[in-house]
Point group: D3
């Protein structure tokens, strides 16, 4: 009965990448804990970079400096 | 002081249904645990079906097969 | 495919009360959104009153003043 | 290694306010727990008032009555 | 900057299994989204079966019936 | 109506530090967003270092190497 929540920043995550995250996470829980895929739920939250902070700064600002 | 987070898929949840979820959840916590409605918070997250996985697949794909 | 997380304070929640919260929440999602109980997951977190704050204070302190 | 999730209602939160929340939360964790800002993550979720309930009612309705 | 929260039931998860979940989840985010492992955080919550409900019932009860 | 969840590792967080986190977070939301402390909830989760991963490793292992 696992539930997995994946939070990533909104920097061009494609539908195919979401598919791979869901498939890979489910497979991992099957392999490691022998969980049933039918009861393994994965929810992906895509967070705007204005709303994600690290180093005490918005990621939007950090990304600008990196480029 | 309860806090309840309800995650449902984005499949046509109406405002009236949100109202009922909030009213019903609060009433349940009052009935079962004698909580004060004034401090009972309910937050509903509506998740795109592309972002919800079960059986290792995106719900969008599962829904297509079901119809 | 709903997922519900209920956070309540650790103030003597019994196993029977947990049972009622799980049953009642699931029934609510069936009634309001026509969800399948087989894919409706409810997770209850019981939080120590030292770790829950409101009014800028730990609930432990607030409870002492109330008694 | 702290992770902080701040949920606020969608009532005109500006980008500057988000910046202050991220900066202030990070500084608090540095001051109180001596955490490294490089590993302190803050995620802000802005929730529509239709999706936030208290007193068993949607905040949208409560706000209307207050004005 | 991903953050992943894995919730599993308290049914004998070993430390080695936790290690594999953390390693596997991080590797998945590196492979699929090219994320930096240094900023990829994984938090595992182990939930008592009394506190996890599905089918409107506590998992403890469901497990008893299955054996 | 803010709700804040702070997740920190279980490395000797004292009750006084929890008090300061709750007080400081609430004050921040009052200052930045003019929120009412009466409806500002803060929940602290203390996570075992075996259950927190970064760099694809359990924090327990990383801490051992650092000392």
């Amino acid at each position: 009965m696992p539930y997995v929540n994946i939070k990533v920043t909104d920097e061009g995550v494609t539908n195919e990448q979401k598919r791979q995250l869901i498939e890979g996470t489910t497979q991992l829980l099957v392999n490691v804990l022998n969980k049933d895929p039918a009861t393994t739920h994965v929810v992906i939250d895509v967070v705007p970079t204005d709303n994600w902070g690290v180093f005490g700064q918005q990621l939007t600002k950090i990304r600008k400096r990196q480029t």
